[in-house]
């Protein structure tokens, strides 16, 4: 990214992102206005649809779970200076790993015994799918952006082939595997609440939400509190300094990509083991791409990513409500908003800096005169 103008920290992580999102929302509002609908009302509907009742909250958090995983994946790679656009494919293949494992074990083991193995499977499959582009970047000099894009398409073709020709449940139209034994399903949110004596409506929210929160915590610790995270950040910030410090940038790139893919692969836990309970096509539904927006918005910090995921979860869930309430707006509006957030929080991230810097300078000067 370009050279940012130096600003106070609170401006840099508070004011600027807020301005960027406001800009994205303002443009979205213009689009809604041009459709002849009321943006405020739309916002209201979306908020209600996302948080207004417990099923909605369940759905919001279910989407949030996916975004946390893909957002973390993009962020981890970013810390090593890598742009992983392949979250979509990695999540897809990660889900494949989960599905294959459960198909093999669901008759023998209960979910809690399968879960650790499934996490390993998701991480291994997703990780491998990212490690190859990582290796190619580190040792063969190919561009990570291009290879991860290509790997998305290859993943999709591979999955279609497997689902259509190999894994499809015989005698069935949709290319879907058989449903897993119920004992292998992750506990759903309402079941967990029920166990606590709380009444909660049914929704796809499931145990993996907790895994996602745990993963955010672990990633935060890993990146900022371990020597490996330190090595990753050093490579990302200054490769020459990394070499000077005895860190092998190539190895780091390779391993970071594997880790990034592993995180994206965890989408498979939520989708396959938690919600769909079978292998099917397109369960990634763009979550991998949204991870880019989530990561950009969350400023590559797990805490920010959880917040951004919640925002996107609310957008996705509340966006569905738009379909019901408005003649002219559909949930595709959410995609537009998402694109605008990527534009303003990512590509135009520093557009407001000079303006804010000027304001901040004037503000500081004014304060200086008073004091």
């Amino acid at each position: 990214m370009s050279q940012p103008i130096k600003l106070p920290r609170w401006v840099d992580i508070g004011v600027i992102p807020a301005l960027n999102i406001l800009a994205a929302l303002a443009v979205s509002a213009l689009v809604i206005l041009s459709l002849g609908e009321d943006p405020i009302e739309a916002l209201d509907v979306m908020l209600y649809g996302a948080f207004g009742y417990d099923e909605a909250i369940g759905y919001t958090l279910y989407y949030t779970t996916n975004f946390i995983f893909t957002g973390l994946a993009v962020a981890v790679a970013f810390h090593a200076g890598l742009f992983n656009i392949g979250g979509e494919g990695q999540a897809y293949i990660g889900g494949l790993g989960v599905g294959l494992l459960i198909l093999a074990l669901d008759r023998w083991l209960p979910w809690y015994a399968i879960l650790p193995l499934a996490i390993v499977a998701a991480a291994l499959f997703g990780g491998a799918w990212a490690a190859v582009p990582g290796w190619l970047q580190a040792y063969r000099g190919s561009h990570i952006v291009i290879t991860t894009i290509m790997f998305n398409f290859i993943a999709s073709a591979l999955m279609v082939h497997l689902m259509v020709n190999v894994l499809i449940k015989p005698g069935q139209m949709s290319p879907e595997s058989r449903e897993f034994a119920e004992s292998a399903w992750l506990p759903l949110g309402h079941e967990m609440f029920a166990a606590l004596g709380i009444d909660f409506s049914r929704s796809p929210l499931n145990f993996s939400f907790l895994i996602a929160l745990l993963a955010s915590g672990l990633v935060a610790i890993f990146i900022w509190r371990t020597r490996w995270g330190y090595a990753i950040r050093t490579v990302g910030r200054n490769e020459t300094a990394a070499v000077y410090a005895g860190i092998d940038p190539k190895k780091t790139v390779f391993l970071t990509m594997a880790l990034s893919g592993a995180l994206a692969g965890m989408v498979g836990i939520n989708e396959i083991m938690g919600v769909q309970h079978k292998l099917l096509l397109n369960f990634t539904a763009g979550y991998g791409f949204t991870g880019i927006a989530v990561s950009l918005m969350g400023r590559n910090h797990p805490f920010g990513i959880v917040l951004a995921s919640l925002l996107f979860g609310a957008l996705y869930q509340g966006g569905a409500e738009l379909d019901f309430e408005f003649e002219q707006i559909t949930r595709d509006m959410v995609v537009v908003i998402q694109g605008l957030i990527i534009l303003f929080s990512g590509a135009l991230a520093y557009m407001f800096n000079p303006m804010v810097a000027r304001l901040a300078g004037r503000f500081a000067a004014a304060r200086g005169q008073e004091g």
Binding site: K6, I221, R225, T226, R227, Y230, A231, R233, T234, R237, N238, T240, A241, V243, Y244, A245, G246
Partner: protein
């Protein structure tokens, strides 16, 4: 003298230019008479390139006036400069490596929307220039296939084809072999004969004396003197370059050199492009002495230091530290192992190598030591330990502000350097490799850094110091090596060193050669 009643070809008045906090040019004035060769000398970072880039419209001055042929002009782009007949050969060539000589020469002066006509005309022009000045290059060759000397020829051709009457050459000989340099000066003489005004930037006094009519000296962004070449001497110019300010004298006892720590035997280092940057270097450094390497930047010192620190592989020779032969041909020592062997390294370029400017001070404090037990507790980094350690070192090294949580980029250059020094020196190294320890550092910090290095020596460390500041080398070193073009061309005890002699060696002139003011 030259020019008679004509106005100066170039006149700069009160030029100032800052890059953020760096003031590269401060109120600079310069007059160059038409048809003369004017030299500009100055140390690294004195602002020479910046000044010329302003004249060439590449940068815009913050303040000041430019007059060409006595008329005030505004040069808001290189296009404007070219139109005024100004051409420039940049220090770092501005060539497109994947394109042919012809394409590079034509770029910007294609003579029409289609290339055909322009190509033909340019070929003719190149042929003419070749016969006029002996500037011969195959127009169809790719730039990437040319030697550096030939590339420079292309740069000159570019300027001439665009009709330059005023030609600026920024350190043209830094990358040339002596033979190539001689050819260049013949060409410049021929150009001058045909009325071209030339501004020549160089570090090498021999070249100034041999080739120029007048000369200006820059120092820390300011123009400090103008001389007629025939009325000055190498000694005077060297003094002007280094400045009249008090030489920083370091109080130090004579060295008590003890056992051998570093012994290099035929060290050779080749860079990624296959160029030998260090050639067959043999030297020793003993415990308790500072050995300084003097030389113009880019003569292999950086590569030598990096090879010793395990960052670059050797392509020939070997060296040993404390009697252990640790590196063989083609076999890289890695920085980890180097640290384990007691080698500490203060790199020349703290921004690009020594620091991660986006990290906090305490994070930088563990750079290279991040996997040491001191800074780890089980799987986790022991941040508290790093912060505490960093805070203590900041106190001891007087880093201001002494705040370990502050981002490295927020410290001034001198304080950044102290952070690096603190990190490297506090490991109690047996061998300390130091590159440009005071580049861009303020006076107070320089003194502190110098004293620290001496006390390291007194505690028994072997110190290898690389610096382009001659007075720094002179005042710190117990023994001095001089490097030129990748070779160690001289070695002397500090006591018997004098700046003139070292300067001559740096310029790689045999000591016997008389200063006759003309090209050899």
């Amino acid at each position: 003298m030259a020019g008679g009643g004509k106005p100066p070809a170039i006149e700069l008045k009160g030029i100032s230019k800052s890059f953020g906090p760096v003031q590269a040019n401060r109120d600079v004035t310069l007059r160059v008479m038409p048809g003369t060769i004017h030299g500009i000398v100055g140390e690294n970072g004195a602002g020479k390139s910046t000044l010329m880039s302003i004249l060439y419209g590449f940068y815009q001055a913050d303040a000041g006036e430019i007059l060409v042929d006595g008329k005030g002009v505004i040069i808001e782009s290189s296009r404007a400069a070219i139109d005024l007949g100004i051409g420039m050969v940049h220090q770092h060539f501005m060539l497109v490596e994947t394109m042919s000589v012809l394409d590079n020469v034509m770029l910007g002066s294609e003579g029409g929307a289609l290339l055909d006509a322009g190509e033909k005309a340019t070929r003719q022009e190149l042929a003419r220039l070749s016969s006029d000045y002996g500037l011969t290059v195959d127009p169809d060759e790719l730039i990437s296939d040319l030697s550096v000397g030939q590339q420079q020829r292309v740069e000159i051709l570019k300027a001439l084809v665009r009709g330059a009457r005023i030609l600026v050459l920024d350190e043209p000989t830094g990358v040339l072999t002596p033979q190539e340099a001689d050819r260049l000066f013949e060409i410049l003489a021929a150009l001058k004969e045909r009325g071209v005004t030339i501004i020549l930037i160089t570090h090498k006094l021999r070249e100034i004396l041999a080739a120029t009519d007048t000369v200006s000296v820059m120092r820390q962004g300011e123009m400090v003197a103008h001389r007629t070449t025939s009325e000055t001497s190498a000694d005077e110019l060297a003094e002007l370059m280094v400045g009249r300010k008090v030489l920083l004298r370091v109080d130090k006892k004579p060295a008590e050199a003890k056992g051998m720590v570093l012994s290099a035997d035929g060290l050779t280092v080749t860079d990624a492009r296959g160029v030998e940057r260090v050639k067959n270097a043999c030297f020793q450094v003993r415990a308790g002495e500072i050995v300084g390497i003097a030389g113009v930047a880019g003569n292999g010192q950086s590569e030598l230091l990096q090879a010793l620190a395990g960052i670059r592989p050797l392509s020939g020779g070997s060296f040993s530290v404390n009697g252990t032969r640790i590196v063989d041909t083609g076999h890289a020592l890695d920085p980890h192992e180097a640290r384990r062997l007691g080698i500490a390294h203060v790199p020349e370029d703290r921004h690009h190598m020594g620091l991660v400017t986006a990290f906090t001070a305490h994070e930088n404090h563990i750079l290279g030591h991040h996997d040491w037990p001191d800074f780890n507790r089980g799987l986790l980094l022991d941040r508290e330990a790093a912060i505490a350690d960093c805070a203590a070192e900041m106190e001891r090294y007087d880093v201001r502000p002494p705040n370990p949580q502050l981002t490295a980029a927020m410290f001034s250059g001198g304080n950044q350097q102290k952070i690096v020094l603190a990190r490297e020196l506090e490991t109690k190294p047996k061998l300390l490799l130091v590159g440009q320890p005071t580049r861009g550092v303020d006076i107070g910090a320089i003194e502190f850094i110098h004293n620290t290095l001496v006390s390291m020596r007194d505690q028994g460390a072997a110190v290898l110091l690389v610096s382009v500041e001659l007075d720094e080398i002179m005042s710190l070193s117990d023994r001095i090596l001089v490097m030129s073009a990748g070779r160690i061309v001289g070695e002397m005890e500090a006591a018997e060193a004098d700046p003139r002699r070292i300067g001559l060696m740096m310029a790689d002139i045999p000591e016997e050669a008389p200063w006759d003011g003309k090209a050899a």
